[in-house]
Amino acid sequence: MEALPEQITLAHGAGGKQTSALIHQIFERHFKNSLLTADDAAVLPRPGHQIAMSTDGFVVSPAFFPGGNIGELSICGTVNDLSCMGAKPLYLTCSFIIEEGLEVSKLDRIAASMAETAEKAGAVLVAGDTKVVGKGQADQVFITTTGVGEIVSQNPLSGAKAAPGDAVLVTGDVGRHGCAVLLSRDEYGIDAHVESDCAPLWKPVSAALKAAPDLHVIRDATRGGVGTVLYEIAHQSHVGIRLHSDAIPVDPSVAGVCGMLGLEPLYLACEGRMVMIVPKEEAGAIIDALSVFPDTQGICQIGEVTAEEPERVIMETEIGTQTYLPEPGTELLPRIC
């Protein structure tokens, strides 16, 4: 078999010997399982219940950031989207668009962390595709993942099910992924170390479904962060949400960076945080169940759902006043002085 050179070339996408060398030596090696074959499509055992399916493209720049990389992210994103629907992730496919010149060692690290993350979530990678594009036509590597999961929750979850009196929980500190990526772009000259919260959350979610069978909403707070998710839920369920600013967990470094740049941590992306909305009586059980998982040990209640002021998110400040959380959608521009 062809040995791999140090860098990807256009020939690795041409379908010949070098393509198969890449597939064997990187993807098959890392993704090995009985369902992943050399045939044109994977043949899969049918799950017993309803299936959920989700797909997402990942184009993060830089591809490697403190606490993770694009490969890990591409698995977490899809696995967590399925988890939010109460679906146990089963099968994943992935499609790579690789820029000519990418170091093979980087691709190897990306594939290795994808395999590891999928395993952590209990899912397998069953099929994939590789395209190589010319220099400048992509930024190192873009990955699209698609996932199929089996709905295991008794009760369908939905953003439209939040009800007045429900508790609003978040599974850990907010804004870390967005902040880590901003800092690793190195445009700011800020000397702070922040690691992404990137994590696959099926196991904690499944524990939550057991602990609180009447769970109403689960959403992962990716692009747009927790603030955007809360507004989406407030609109979908036509309810108000009241937050307590001193209960919102923010890592001190994230808070420091946001202070300097004039950003709101509630609007920075998370890649390993869920917002959960649950009947008040079940909040304690979920908090107990999720506190034992390393990725969700920071779970806490940050507010509650209200009947007043539907479709608005109200912040109770530490000095006892009430303000509205700004509506998402306005660009986050660093401030001038």
Partner: protein, 355 residues
């Protein structure tokens, strides 16, 4: 759930005082946009008795930058092929014809940077291209523009310029002193300039308190201001001694004095204020984009429906502007006060005004 447990006893007393204040009516202008933003974000107006009114002043560098300045920056990018480096806030400020983000859409090379030195670094890395940094801001940011020029000289650059619209706060105090009973002075500015300007205001009979930026610092400063106001004698208090000293920062002042000199300046919505601007000295004209590219003077045209001038001078509230929240929103700003997160209109819009 935790709630207000950490509030200290003095802070609680200050809040009680402000809530129950029943002395003579008092209007307080926060000159600085960062104060405005924080006051809204923290809901501080809800803590004030009806006898206390806060007015948002003109102290947001983006809000007072005239359309004509944006026009010159657009011309640099589109007509002179200069790479224009700017703070993000300026990107969407409307010029007469277009904003900088529109200029970028038309092929201009406009880049967002986070410090003037970043623009200088870019110029050093690309000696083949001309660069201009849009130097706007008050005393807090002017020193870093001067530092960028200092570095350009050190690095022997001939491709780096500033397009200056730097302004100084005392001119705003002078212009606004009849619109308010007292000032909440911006702590960041006085960390650089020291207390001479606020002493001078006191001698002219104008009172004020230098304030920090956290909720606690703002509340403390307001309580001091209201209490002293009741005594009826002009005063100044430095309520931010952690950061602000009598003399300020001599290094920063020296740096500015080396490269810049005062000039008259046009404030969007307010007009010409004598000696309220800073420009590069003649000896450094080669770093002055307006000189080097012979950019025409002119203040440009604002949207005629816009009430920014009245808002900036505390003569009306953002909601009183007919464009507020309908035609003019943070996503499609008509006036500069809606663009910057420090603008009064943006603060009212984002935080829902007086809740």
């Amino acid at each position: 759930m935790k709630q207000n447990h950490q509030m200290s006893a003095p802070l609680r007393r200050a809040i009680d005082f402000l809530k129950t204040y029943d002395g003579p009516e008092v209007r307080i202008m926060e000159v600085c946009g960062t104060h405005t933003h924080e006051i809204f974000k923290q809901g501080i107006r809800q803590l004030l008795s009806p006898k206390i009114t806060l007015i948002s002043g003109p102290g947001c560098p983006v809000c007072v930058t005239p359309a004509g300045y944006i026009d010159r920056a657009v011309a640099l990018a589109l007509d002179h092929g200069v790479t224009v480096c700017t703070f993000g806030d300026l990107m969407r400020v409307p010029g007469t014809e277009m904003s900088l983000s529109m200029a970028r859409g038309r092929g201009g090379d406009v880049r967002v940077v986070y410090a003037p030195e970043d623009a200088e670094k870019l110029a050093a890395e690309h000696p083949e291209k001309p660069f201009a940094f849009l130097s706007v801001g008050f005393e807090t940011t002017t020193p870093s523009s001067c530092l960028a020029v200092d570095h350009a000289i050190r690095d022997g650059l001939d491709n780096f310029t500033l397009l200056t619209a730097n302004k100084t706060m005392p001119a705003a105090y002078e212009a606004m002193k009849n619109s308010t009973d007292l000032f909440l002075y911006p702590g960041h500015v006085h960390a650089i300039t020291g207390l001479a300007d606020v002493k001078k205001m006191q001698q002219e009979g104008v009172s004020g308190v230098v304030a920090g930026f956290t909720a606690g610092e703002l509340i403390t400063a307001l309580a001091i201001a209201v209490k002293k106001y009741g005594e009826g004698v002009p005063f100044y208090v430095n309520a931010y001694p952690r950061v602000v000293t009598d003399e300020g920062s001599p290094e920063a002042k020296q740096l500015v004095a080396k490269y810049m000199e005062p000039c008259d300046a046009w404030w969007r919505g307010i007009g010409m204020l004598p000696d309220s601007g800073m420009r590069l000295k003649k000896a450094y004209a080669r770093f002055d984009a307006a000189e080097r590219y012979a950019l025409p003077e002119g203040n440009g045209k604002d949207n005629p429906g816009c009430h920014c001038g009245d808002v900036l001078q505390g003569r009306c509230r953002p909601e009183d502007c007919p464009l507020f929240g309908t035609v003019c929103t943070p996503v499609h700003p008509t006036g500069a006060c809606m663009v910057s997160s420090e603008g009064a209109c943006s603060a009212y819009y984002l935080y829902g005004g007086e809740k």
